[in-house]
């Protein structure tokens, strides 16, 4: 597969590993904020290639991990109404809410369907005008433009039974929050596919304000190793800046057209991130002009507040202060089959990937 297999060359990866070993002059901790990176790092066994000096931490970058319990409860409540179909990405199906996971709600008769894209949800609304079809819109800047395009499409066509419940989030404010709260890291493996949309400029504040190294990174093993080498060199040279490793996909300014769609449909809002709390301008709300598509307005749901706190330390893990093995629930009470916190639920959550690839040693 072009643009993929070339970057999985074991020889390149081995050379990069050698250079990292050679140039790593002290201990380094780098945080990947993208769940896709977390998964790639484990899947390609990157840890097994790195010297102990180079530590990787998983930040908050999985939209499923940070989706608040209240959102899941709302989806499940809406889906149990006879006239409503809730469509969602497969990622959400196993997320436990206080009531039930969407998967469990489906088993009890709620009309919940897995879609691969927002336009599949719109197709469903078109094909059955009697049903109210809600699209559970999760995801970061990578996913939000697709929702925006679909919503504008629905408006143009005058589809009246299509709604969106937005839990879209934006990444840079979350990274800033982590830094403000004092994460102990030397730099970021910046999210490559978020950056395809936002451009690498979105991360310029990190070296400028916080003096940390940044590499906007692709998702193949050679990409990740090359980015780590870039980060180590930035730290060694005391010249933190935003370096684009993933040049074949990312530019400084990003995808202007996609940004335009996003701005047209959404406005920034303060948003709850599970485990991190309220992040100023950390989410995307549907603009007034599209209010009749906003499921939050069309179907107000009155739900009790979030569930009681457990011993789950998801928040600390998302912040990079703790690792999964620090959690007393990990691999005993909390497993992929019986997830407690969001980090275990999502297949790219830190705890899930840690369990899957390092297991319960």
């Amino acid at each position: 597969m072009k643009y993929i297999d070339e970057y999985r060359n074991g020889r390149h990866v081995a050379r990069l590993a050698e250079m990292i070993r050679q140039e790593a002059a002290r201990a380094y901790t780098f945080m990947e904020v993208c769940g896709g990176h977390t998964a790639a790092i484990h899947r390609f066994g990157i840890h097994s290639l790195l010297p102990a000096k180079v530590k990787l931490l998983s930040g908050p970058g999985c939209p499923v991990c940070v989706t608040p319990v209240r959102y899941i409860n709302t989806l499940v409540t809406l889906a149990s109404r006879r006239d409503i179909t809730v469509t969602m990405f497969g990622d959400l199906m196993r997320i436990p809410g206080t009531l039930a996971s969407p998967g469990e709600a489906k088993a009890s008769g709620a009309d919940i369907r897995v879609v691969l894209s927002a336009h599949e949800a719109l197709d469903l609304a078109r094909s059955d005008p009697q049903r109210k079809v809600i699209f559970a819109a999760i995801g970061f800047e990578t996913t939000a433009p697709g929702t925006a395009v679909t919503l504008m499409h629905a408006e143009r066509e005058g589809v009246e039974n299509f709604y969106v419940l937005s839990a879209h989030k934006v990444m840079p404010p979350a990274m800033e929050m982590i830094l403000r709260e004092g994460a102990r890291i030397d730099g970021f493996i910046c999210p490559g596919h978020v950056a395809v949309i936002t451009g690498s400029e979105a991360f310029d504040f990190i070296p400028r304000k916080y003096g940390l190294a940044c590499a906007v990174t692709g998702f193949e093993p050679a990409d990740i190793m090359l980015a780590l080498l870039m980060l180590i060199r930035q730290v060694n040279n005391h010249k933190p800046h935003v370096e684009i490793e993933y040049r074949r996909a990312v530019s400084a300014e990003g995808n202007k057209i996609a940004q335009g769609y996003m701005r047209e449909v959404f406005e920034p809002e303060d948003a709850e991130w599970r485990g991190l709390g309220i992040i100023p301008s950390g989410g995307l709300n549907i603009r007034e002009r599209f209010r009749h598509f906003n499921a939050g307005i069309a179907f107000p749901v009155d739900l009790p507040g979030p569930a009681d706190e457990t011993d789950c330390i998801c928040g600390d893990i998302l912040r990079g202060v703790s690792t999964p093995s620090d959690c007393q629930l990990f691999s005993t009470v909390c497993t992929p089959d019986h997830p407690q916190g969001a980090c275990m639920v999502s297949a790219e959550g830190s705890c899930h990937t840690f369990f899957k690839y390092h297991g319960h040693e």
Binding site: M1, I4, R8, N9, G10, V13, A14, A17, G35, G36, A39, H42, R43, F44, G45, I46, H47, S48, L49, C62, P63, V64, F89, G90, D91, M93, R94, R113, V114, V115, L116, S117, E120, L124, G139, T143, E220, P221, A222, P336, D337, S346, A347, E348, F355, K356, Y357, H358, G359
Partner: protein
Amino acid sequence: MSEKITLSHGGGGRQAQILIRDHFATRFGMAGPMTDSAILSAPSGILAFTTDSYVIDPIFFPGGDIGKLAVCGTVNDLAVSGAEPKYLSAAFIIEEGFGMEQLDEIVTSMADEAEAAGVRIVTGDTKVVEKGQCDGIFINTAGVGLLSSDLVHVSSASSVKEGDVLIINGSPGDHAVTILAARRGLSFDIPLLSDCASLNRLVRRVAEKPEAVHFMRDLTRGGLAAVLNELAAMRGCGIIIDEVSVPVQEPVRGLCEILGFDPLTLASEGRMLVVAAPGEAGAIVERMRKDPLGSEAAIIGRITSGREGRVILNGTSGGKRFIDVPSGQLLPRIC
């Protein structure tokens, strides 16, 4: 309008008799009067006996249908236990309104597959349920096979030891992704056929030297990952798999990459794992390759002593990781 299955087809009356006689018994080659049991001559020796139920959606898919699957699945369970499949039962639960033409097509493909595999369908049952109580058609098959005494060790993996070699007969996951693509509503297309096939002839080639074959298992739900972990747990051994030697087809890889699946966890219905003595593995692969169902046979890994009960993947790019037991159902992901 074409003929449909109605509740009276399961009612024990005339229509039921016609259904059984004209649509099932003749196709399955059941001669003579209908009795309550199939009367078979008893072979001496050891029997293997298995059962499985088939509830696939969609019922017809590229490369097969629920009928073919119901025969292959049970034949394969017997075959990989080291048994020569002989007799099958077939029980149908049919939703009223199901098309007679489709039923005939399913029964015909069962008969064809049974003939190809050299087994006989000797007894059966039909129930018709009301609309909505099942999804079209469900089939259960049970099977009996003769187990040769020199292959008794195969299903328990009791002779698996350090240094043994792991062989697979072809690309894993073709069945799972074909089914996924054939399902309504998912907007993608895959230029593949299900790998659904009866493996008993291939097993015969593999087992020409029975003492060299230490373990066999077909790769159904949970795929290669599930079987490897089961084997590692059963024997308390370690397993190392070389990713580069697992023959995953390009479209399966592509689909897995984009939907976030691991090809090693995908179900097949005509793929098997063989664990063999190291000195014989090459010869076994050669013999397998002479069969169309083994043309891509490949050595993919080995049994180790360390890392008891764990399966390690040597990645294409040089990294190592564990292959864990797949958890939960396959859900396409965007992140």
